[in-house]
Symmetry: C2
Subunit: 318 residues, 2 copies
């Protein structure tokens, strides 16, 4: 990298501060000083001179209004909803984490898809009863996956689906750049998009446009044999409609990592609906080396006065 006279001070505010500090230190980024306060309160003291901020949106949202020097925030998450709160400043560049969750999401989604096809849970239950279960497995090959949202995570899921011999329907507002989508659908085509799907995977962010998109009508478009997987945001799904569809057998099952309210309340019916797998927003937990790599790439761009990757539009909330 070209030497620079420019200096920057970075505040890291993350559960994984230690790991990030280690990786960024080893990267020897020119002109960069780093502070890693233990908690939010100390961040307010030590962060006063910082112009860069790197961390979880839930923590960043607590300090951003009190750190007026900050002009760039790199989120460690894809979802940055906490920073859209109307009382928070928006006069800085916000970049989120993209292109780093694809492989983890792929492991989550295909872990469940293969478990379903291979009857892993059912076979294990039968094993407890010492049953030699010769029921054949089904296969992903030839099946149809629908992707609601085709961003960087959707790209990766579509690629993995193709690897396993599936076809892929993609539903998106505009972009048609993913080579692994066999057919694209757009707003207005929801019924055609959904019909014939074996699996629907929602990767949509939580925005005013996506709220409750998966409602009773949309669920009625899906075949009774289809599974719904939600790894996007809970607000995209009308949970009452989903509970009804699962309870009445109008849907084969659901794998849910995100909910309207998290943690999912202990009395929520989704804990008990048939063929429902609940996970606690753990589908793609941070993989610090990747997220750090994203910061490093963007820092190099900053120093070269190039546009940063994955800038969030505060108006689109994405």
């Amino acid at each position: 990298m070209v030497p620079t006279d420019e200096t920057h001070t970075l505040l890291i505010l993350s559960r994984d501060s230690d790991v990030y500090l280690q990786i960024l230190s080893q990267a020897m980024l020119p002109g960069l000083s780093i502070v890693t306060p233990e908690d939010v309160e100390k961040a307010l003291w030590f962060g006063a001179d910082c112009d860069l901020l790197f961390g979880e949106p839930s923590l960043v949202s607590k300090v951003i209004n009190y750190l007026p020097m900050v002009r760039w925030v790199q989120s460690t998450w894809a979802g940055v909803e906490p920073l859209f709160s109307p009382d928070l400043r928006r006069d800085y560049i916000l970049t989120n984490a993209r292109n780093v969750y694809g492989s983890l999401m792929s492991e989550y989604v295909f872990g469940y898809l293969l478990s379903i096809e291979r009857r892993i849970l059912t076979r294990w239950v039968l094993q407890q009863q010492v049953v030699w279960d010769e029921t054949p497995s089904s296969t992903l090959r030839g099946k149809l996956l629908g992707l609601l949202g085709v961003g960087t995570i959707g790209d990766c899921l579509a690629k993995t689906a193709h690897y396993f011999g599936m076809s892929v329907n993609g539903y998106t507002r505009q972009s048609e750049s993913c080579p692994y989508i066999d057919r694209y659908f757009h707003p207005g085509d929801l019924r055609d998009f959904a019909s014939g799907l074996d699996y629907l995977v929602c990767t949509l962010p939580g925005t005013p446009n996506t709220s409750q998109l998966i409602d009773e009508t949309f669920l009625s478009y899906l075949p009774q044999t289809a599974w719904l997987l939600n790894v996007g945001r809970g607000s995209v799904v009308d949970e009452s409609a989903l509970v009804a569809a699962l309870s009445q057998g109008r849907l084969a099952g659901a794998v849910l990592d995100v909910f309207m309210e998290e943690p999912l309340a202990s009395g929520h019916p989704l804990w008990q609906t048939p063929n429902t797998f609940i996970t606690a927003h753990t589908a793609a937990t941070n993989y610090p080396p990747d997220i750090a790599g994203l910061f490093i790439e963007n820092y190099k761009r900053l120093v070269r006065s190039e546009p940063l990757l994955y800038q969030v539009d505060f108006n689109e909330q994405y």
Copy 2:
């Protein structure tokens, strides 16, 4: 295909006779007549004039001695042990099913690998207790897979392992043709091959050379954190040694599709050893369109007087 005056009569002897008959009929193979008797007894009557035989080795072994006209047998299975019985004739060409189980084996193996990494079973058990389980998942990325046997199934598993960002050690007698194996090992290198593995997958056929290869010594080379998966043949594993290793926590767990005796006896300790998944030789059940495709390809070669694919050596028993 070039018209031919040659005629052949094929006996199909399979659980999936109807499907095979349909596919082969549609293929309009020149000069081919097909008979599909209902059972072994009828096969002896109707098969007297047949020169070709296509079916399960367990069924073929019951008729092959009584059908002297047969000069080529296409097995629907990869494993053809029933045809090595010393009282059976060997004066015919035996071809087995290869290159058709890779994708199904890949779904089986990676279904279990991802279930383990993503804690799918543990999370489901916790869900029954209404526990919001935020334990992060681990990932296949960066982990080391060892393949004991690198045939066409091993090739496909290695490719899938690479797809998920794993490294692959391959143990083989000779061939080093698979581009997805990072390091090859050969007889004599078992200790080096095994050390550091996260997962060991055995795809070896049951032959005199592979019998009890996975014994107490070999198991002691594996890290305590490693999982063993056997999708080859049960005879490759010393089951007593495996039971001891699992019971004493010297191995993280096992996923077993094949056993010394199948079905696995109801009193066998492997039903109960910790972290053990038992499946009933269902890892790669037949996918008739693929197997039929193999017969079609070989039939075309036969008509053109070209060598058939995947000929079995009766001496090597593979």
